[in-house]
Symmetry: C2
């Protein structure tokens, strides 16, 4: 008789009886899988390099959300119906297609290698953090997926009969082509697949993702397939095989091509499960193999899932919430889940990773993070990470500084050690400054400052700040510079300069502080009183005309702005809201302008420039209730427990960070100013478990008192603060903030 | 003062003074590089895996002998003018395009990666065994090439200025596409290039040739280029780079594709030489690296060439000739050189090689040979190897038996461990039997016999002998079998069965001897008295009609025959010439038929079926003079010291073996009958140095006495043999044969 087992049994029984749902159980990975949220319901570990997503965006059956017929940035769309496999590296919530490759697919009967023929409809999709399953209608196969950090694991339950598992290296979401595949043994395949040219940029930086796939049962037969391009020359007349797929049975050497794959086949006399473990790496096949062996080894599918589920639960339990509906909790924890996907791990188990720009393999003792969509994330995401996961945030800053060491520049939109140069501005400085000002200082501060100044000042060959010369000289980037979105770019440089100013101030560099602070206010030169908006200007100082401030909504191209129009950029000066109000004239006029934006459909919840707008009412005394109302209306309208429950691209967690803050009742309006503005929490009580290595307190509670009405009082440790703003330090070093409604 | 140097100097001086030209100096690698000889003038070591050939068959400048505009099987055509690089693996004297890849090209100035743009005219070509050089007009660069067994070495002499060396993995002679390239260091590139689908067959067996390239000077800059296929989808509209070549500077990871390459660049302040060593392997990149290091290592270009030249001289000095013109000696030694190219070494330095059909890597302690064009070579080539290089011939037989061990069948037309199934018949049995009967017995005789019988008897799934069932039942393959060339196929099976019979007899298996000997005569059933020729037959015994015996010359397709017509196959029954004569009716009628064939243009010197015809006069007493005359006329007409100095494809040395025998005055008419028939030698004296491990005598002399007239007497060790036939054993165990003319 085993006493330990009994005790353990009683413990679990006890847990079930008390039965508060764990944080992890509130994750609904289907949120954001429609309405261009661009998330996927696949299985992933926190900040995983590998993930396993169902792939249902190929083939005319999936029109109009079909990958080749439009700009589509996700491997999965919830309303689609035709599944052609399971991808093993994926991006989540981004706006451009990439990754979505290394595709497995179980089938039965005769082998078919063309996804248009082997694809299938499906039923019974289930997804939770670290797990996804589906039944494939055509084959009566149940497919399940889980993942560790660098290994995607699938389990296929086949009926009796001939069963196949395909590894398709042709099909993929990325627009890059080409790969290599090699059968190492009847239970092991290795190779790589090219990815890259994110947002159709920098194709010369395209790079391989390496993999090693292990099957729990050795193949009875295996083959490589290869469909070369159709030969057009005279010689085609002698090629009986021209344009046809080659099936290379038992082939064991490398095969390269754009339409290649491997399959293993079995003959089962009864229902049988096969597990497939795919280790990935951006360094080498050998590292992919080591990642697989060290991280997963002989663990079963269930063991991997258990471990990953626990990791998720631990990560998500950083915040506990009370009150709110089940749906609200689901929205909240799913958002938190979505913030733990990118930036993700780039380094292998052994610490190796591809350096940026050098062609060398680097080695890190910490985590090398990748996927820095900084134009998005500098606004709120990293602030949230500093609060909830300061160790991760520190690692992210250190990763950015490694990049500076490697290629001489801080990142702009980094993806797997390629600089995609997507979007505008110089956002890394903002993130680093903000992190420091929130008390997370364990990085090389001198190097960080040097890197910031280089981006802010190097006139020639500066990849981060095109147009810098005239920006410094005139205070703005002009229309005739031909630089896309000169107004937006000016504003972004202002925000970055403000962050540098604050960093300089903290480091005691007073002159620098003055210089950059002054630079940060130059957007004002673009304020046109006629429109009471920022307006594009020529380098000679004349206004750009004809000027239509409405032009540019919904990503329409326009002169002046990037992904937005004059309304959506009007108040994107978060470091100078008071100054902005002065430009407009008065609090009242400012509030009227804000109201107009919301009420006349100029507010875009789906894109970053204006996402702080609802909180700006807090800068106008007496109008704070409008912030409270707007924020709650926006949460209710755009953030729901449905596949369409994100307003648009999650932007690697930026939208999710917005709703997490909004639901907690605080928001970090000004990057590189360590404070929050306050609105009504959704929950009655929010308990944040702070990391004691970075914060004095281990807990921060935000408690709502009263359920209706507007905020009448905010108390910190029982004392009314008489403000709708609270410093980060003050908040975190207090145990509790009460938000009292009446 | 260095005594050794002086001694050495005196030695060389002495050599020069006595100044008999060495055998190696009589090699003219340009012979066969025009008129579809399909040889190339590139540098190669005896039986080398690697070779470095100039590549001048790409680009419209080379029309009509341009690789994409016709069936062209060689990397080089003598009359072409536009050179686009140097290939590092090549086939010689074959009829189908393959290999001709891993191309280096020196250029100067701005880098151009498109061969149509970087190609150049050239002057001052020089070639000898193991060495080739040329001046590239556009660049004023001298390019030189040499090779060891598995390493191609080039040396480029650049003028001062910007210099580049390209490694083009897109361009090639093979119709296969695709490869991989990776810069390992500024002086090292590794990768592979796909080859295969020889004769447009078996594309699913296409395979990589691996390489490692080392540069004597590290690149100052390097890049990979990749020109992906043009994207046709909707997304192409966002790809500014669509269809353009990508230059990936400093890129250090694997790049795969159909149009890829790497280049290194230098800036030289004065004329500078760069040496490039490229090790190849059919097993792996690691083996290619080891081949390079172990075979060449730090040796200079000159050292490699010296070593290879010595190896060639040693191999060619197996025969010494006296008399004859310089041109005749050149034709002779170049032919001997051409017999030492294929079959070539397949195994790496460490003994590893790709097995045939298993997907595994095998290991051999001897040499694993490859490129067995057995339909050609069974007729005379292996007989010559048994005489001159018995150790090589034994290794070839053992290689064939390894193949049987690996995939269960003897080879038919094996190329780099793929069975191309080119041509018809079951020729390996003939080669093995003939080898044994010539006294070379150091192989597993029981296994060889088992392998032969399997090919001769297995009815189902027999890849060597399609149509075997009706062949055994009816004695011939019928027109309605739909098997290509049923008459030719029947004859080939007869020849193989004859060889098996002789082998059985030698092994004391009398019943088997009777069975197979009887089978070997079944071609007689196809003899049609109406035409006095062999004629295709239906399975019901009726003759195929309408029958045009002339149809099928010059490779025209026809019913009945493969690569030939009824005339060219009429007497391809070398094991039953006496019986054949009886069928025709009389010696006189036979001679008349032979004369008709020669005089009416039905004889084809360029293809194998009828190449023994000129010797057949020897079977008709009193007409032997006709053999002597025909043979000398054919030598004079078809074998000259000119690029067009081969009658057509060398067929991996078969044509060369023909002329070597013909010039020595002996010819092995009947495969698997160890004897020679005798005609007039070209040379006054031929001295063959026999291998004492296989032969009792160390020397065999064939001496011609008298220069005009016909053979009046043949003496062996001074004794008139009163015959135009001599046994192999008798000849080799005698010291000398005198052929006396008057």
């Amino acid at each position: 008789m085993n006493l330990k087992k009994i005790t353990l049994g009683l413990f679990f029984l006890g847990s079930m009886l008390t039965a508060q749902k764990q944080a992890v159980e509130y994750v609904n990975p289907f949120i954001g899988t429609s309405n261009y949220g661009a998330t996927n319901p696949g299985a992933i570990a926190p900040r995983g390099m590998a993930s396993v997503s169902p792939f249902n965006v190929a083939g005319p059956q999936n029109l109009p959300h079909e990958k080749d017929s439009r700009w589509l940035s996700n491997p999965y769309v919830h309303q689609n119906t035709f599944l052609t496999g399971f991808t093993h590296v994926n991006l989540s919530g981004v706006g451009c297609p990439d990754l979505g490759v290394v595709i497995t697919m179980p089938t039965t009967g005769a082998v078919e290698t063309n996804h248009l023929n082997y694809g299938t409809t499906y039923t019974d999709e289930k997804a939770t953090a670290g797990y996804y399953s589906v039944n494939l209608s055509k084959y009566n196969v149940k497919a399940e997926a889980t993942a560790s950090t660098r290994v995607g694991v699938t389990r296929y339950t086949f009926p009796a009969g001939k069963s196949n598992i395909l590894l398709n290296l042709g099909l993929g979401l990325t627009n890059e082509q080409g790969g290599m595949v090699k059968m190492v043994a009847p239970d092991e395949i290795e190779g790589f697949r090219n990815v890259g040219s994110f947002c159709y940029n920098s194709p010369e930086q395209a790079y391989p993702v390496y993999f090693v796939a292990k099957f729990s049962k050795p193949a009875e037969e295996f083959a490589i397939w290869n469909k070369p391009y159709k030969y057009e020359g005279v010689e085609a007349q002698w090629m009986g095989y021209n344009g046809k797929t080659r099936i290379m049975k038992g082939y064991t050497r490398e095969v390269v091509g754009d339409s290649i794959g491997a399959y293993v086949t079995y003959n089962f006399d009864k229902q049988t499960q096969v597990e497939v473990k795919i280790g990935v790496s951006y360094v080498s096949i050998e590292n992919a193999r080591q990642n697989l062996e060290k991280e997963v080894g002989d663990m079963s599918f269930d063991q991997v899932y258990d471990k990953t589920k626990n990791e998720w639960n631990k990560a998500l339990s950083t915040i506990e919430v009370e009150g709110g509906t089940e749906d609200e909790k689901t929205v909240f924890y799913t958002a938190l889940y979505h913030t733990q996907i990118h930036p993700n791990t780039l380094n292998d188990y052994n610490g190796e990773y591809p350096e940026i720009g050098t062609g060398k393999i680097g080695k890190t003792s910490g985590t090398r993070f990748t996927v820095f969509s900084l134009w998005d994330t500098y606004r709120n995401y990293h602030q949230l990470m500093s609060l909830l996961y300061p160790d991760q945030q520190l690692n992210m800053v250190n990763s950015m500084l490694q990049m500076y060491d490697e290629n001489g520049w801080l990142p702009k939109w980094e993806l797997n050690s390629t600089e995609t140069f997507t979007m505008v501005g110089d956002p890394a400085s903002v993130v680093i400054s903000d992190t420091y000002l929130r008390g997370i200082k364990g990085f090389d501060v001198d190097k960080a400052y040097e890197a910031m100044l280089k981006g802010a000042n190097q006139i020639e060959n500066n990849p981060l700040r095109p147009g810098l010369e005239e920006y410094i000289k005139n205070g703005y980037v002009s229309v005739d510079s031909k630089i896309g979105g000169p107004v937006s770019t000016t504003q972004e440089y202002n925000i970055s300069d403000y962050a540098i100013a604050q960093f300089a101030k903290a480091l005691g560099k007073k002159e620098d502080y003055k210089t950059y602070y002054k630079r940060s206010l130059s957007y004002r030169k673009l304020f046109d009183k006629e429109f009471e908006l920022l307006r594009p200007k020529y380098s000679n100082g004349e206004w750009y005309k004809p000027f239509d401030p409405n032009k540019g909504a919904n990503f329409e191209k326009n002169v002046g702005y990037i992904e937005g129009n004059a309304w959506q950029y009007a108040f994107m000066n978060p470091h100078d809201i008071k100054g902005n109000i002065k430009l407009v004239g008065s609090n009242k006029k400012f509030v009227t302008q804000l109201d107009n934006i919301f009420e006349k459909g100029q507010f875009d919840m789906a894109n970053e420039p204006d996402i702080a707008y609802p909180f700006l009412y807090n800068y106008c005394k007496g109008y704070e209730y409008k912030a409270q109302n707007r924020v709650h209306e926006l949460i209710a309208e755009y953030f729901t427990n449905k596949p369409a429950g994100l307003p648009g691209n999650d932007d690697t967690g930026t939208m999710s960070a917005w709703v997490i803050y909004a639901m907690m009742g605080i928001y970090p309006v000004t990057p590189a100013a360590p404070m929050y503005t306050i609105t009504t929490p959704v929950f009655d009580k929010v308990t944040i478990h702070l990391d004691e290595n970075y914060y004095d307190n281990s807990t921060l509670v935000i408690e709502k008192q009263g359920n209706d009405g507007i905020i009448s009082e905010v108390k910190l440790e029982g004392k009314n603060i008489r403000s709708f703003f609270i410093d980060h330090d003050e908040l975190t070093s207090s145990g509790k903030m009460e938000i009292i409604l009446k």
